[in-house]
């Protein structure tokens, strides 16, 4: 679509240029709107039929398509009549909210709006076929408005999609770094997906906070879900291990894949300070061993809990 947002002007080589046209264009538009109102039922049905024939909106039933078509049609005519697009914008946003979750694609939405434009243009052709000059003038006032409407609906749809994508990204970012407490003093940090510098930083911050909040002694970082690791991320991991040690927690890294192990050794990242265990299960076992070693000294401080003797 080569139209710019907002200002859609289609000039066509018409016989009746400029001056006389602008005077009567309001009147022509009124005539046009009256025509569309009059033939509402018929045009609407034709449009819905063409939508079905073009196999658009396959995710929706025929009744739904017809209901939406009616609403779009009325909004369309209203926008043509008043020249204001706020109501249409609001409607297209609500429509997008409803249909995006059902898997309706951008090309479908653009497709149906363009179909409506075509259906209406055809009906104008039929109506004014005896009077080509008038047809031209009617089209002159109809086309810019129609194009702008198509634009508005499409932009509304895309904006809604982008809003949803942004929202989901946010949600993924929050979800992506859960620090889980498995038992007292033992945390697990499963890392899944790609680690970029920003996420790595967030991971570390969350982990350090969680260590303090949960008074963790041992942390198992599981990287089974990490596909690749470059030197930057590896160094960050080493730093995280060091920082955790400063807070008094031992870190065990588990689930380094063969590829990552090879890469890390090849690029020469120094992982000698890092305790690593093959898989998460082994990591937790190792962590429990460490916790058992450290457990004895802690009880006497508070008298509330007797040391666990029976279970």
């Amino acid at each position: 679509m080569n139209t710019k947002k907002g200002t859609t002007v289609m000039t066509r080589p018409s016989e009746g240029p400029g001056s006389g046209l602008t005077e009567s264009s309001a009147g022509l538009l009124r005539e046009l709107v009256a025509h569309l109102r009059q033939n509402r039922t018929q045009l609407r049905e034709e449009w819905a039929r063409r939508i079905t024939r073009a196999e658009l909106l396959t995710a929706m039933t025929e009744e739904e398509i017809f209901a939406e078509a009616t609403a779009v049609y009325d909004n369309y005519v209203e926008a043509l009549e008043t020249g204001t697009f706020e109501a249409l914008q609001a409607y297209s946003r609500r429509l997008s909210e409803r249909i995006i979750p059902r898997g309706v694609e951008t090309d479908e939405v653009v497709g149906i709006v363009l179909l409506l434009r075509d259906v209406l243009a055809r009906s104008l052709f039929t109506k004014y076929q005896d009077n080509v000059e008038k047809l031209n003038r009617i089209l002159d006032s109809y086309e810019p408005a129609a194009n702008r409407i198509a634009n508005t609906v499409a932009v509304g749809f895309v904006e809604e999609r982008e809003r949803i994508i942004r929202q989901q990204q946010e949600a993924i970012r929050e979800l992506s770094t859960p620090v889980l407490q498995v038992r007292e003093r033992l945390l697990i940090l499963p890392i899944i997906g790609v680690i970029d510098p920003q996420r790595a930083r967030q991971l570390t911050e969350q982990l350090l906070r969680a260590i303090r909040a949960n008074r963790a002694k041992v942390v198992v970082i599981d990287v089974t879900g990490v596909a690749a690791m470059d030197s930057g991320v590896a160094n960050h991991l080493v730093q995280t291990v060091e920082a955790s040690r400063l807070l008094g927690a031992t870190v065990i890294v588990t689930g380094l894949s063969p590829e990552i192990a090879q890469t890390l050794v090849t690029i020469g990242v120094d992982l000698s300070e890092m305790a690593t265990v093959g898989d998460l299960q082994g990591g937790i076992e190792e962590a429990e061993r460490l916790l058992a070693d450290r457990a004895p000294p802690s009880p006497p401080m508070r008298g509330e809990l007797p040391p666990e003797t029976s279970r």
Binding site: T204, E205, L208, R209, I211, R212, R215, Q239, T240, E242, A243, S244, R245, L246, L247, G248, A249, R294, P296, P297, S298, P300, M301
Partner: protein, 132 residues
């Protein structure tokens, strides 16, 4: 700014209350090392909870305290490093290698208890040498 050094059983506790100048830090080091010998204590706890900045001099002083105290017969543990401070230190390469660090004072006391017990256990059992 003087850092109070408290005695708690076998341990000395130095609780840093506010940002320290380099001179203050040096003073703390000397005072601690002197007291370790005088009071025959087995452990030293340096509490840095109140510090939100830790520069290279501070880190080096803490490390020196740990090594010197060990020479004088006491274990040292640094407690209360803030998460942000910890990460900043690591990024600057100040990792306090060879020095014990734990979460807070309570953990520090537990750590030293464990350590001193270990040491007494190491000394006590006089088994006939060799295990088979």
């Amino acid at each position: 700014m003087e850092v109070p050094i408290l005695r708690q059983g076998q341990y000395l506790i130095a609780s840093i209350q506010s940002a320290l100048t380099d001179a203050d830090l040096s003073h703390l080091r000397e005072a601690l090392i002197a007291q370790v010998g005088r009071s025959r204590c087995r452990g030293v706890i340096v509490d840095v909870t109140a510090l939100d900045v830790m520069d290279s001099f501070a880190v080096r002083t803490l490390r020196d305290i740990a090594h010197m105290a060990r020479l004088r017969g006491a274990e040292t543990v640094i407690v209360g490093i803030q998460p942000d401070v910890a990460f900043a230190m690591v990024q600057l390469g100040l990792t306090l290698k060879g020095v014990a660090t734990v979460l807070d004072l309570e953990e520090g006391l537990a750590f030293l208890d464990g350590r001193t017990k270990e040491r007494t256990l190491e000394v006590k059992p006089k088994r006939p040498s060799g295990r088979g």
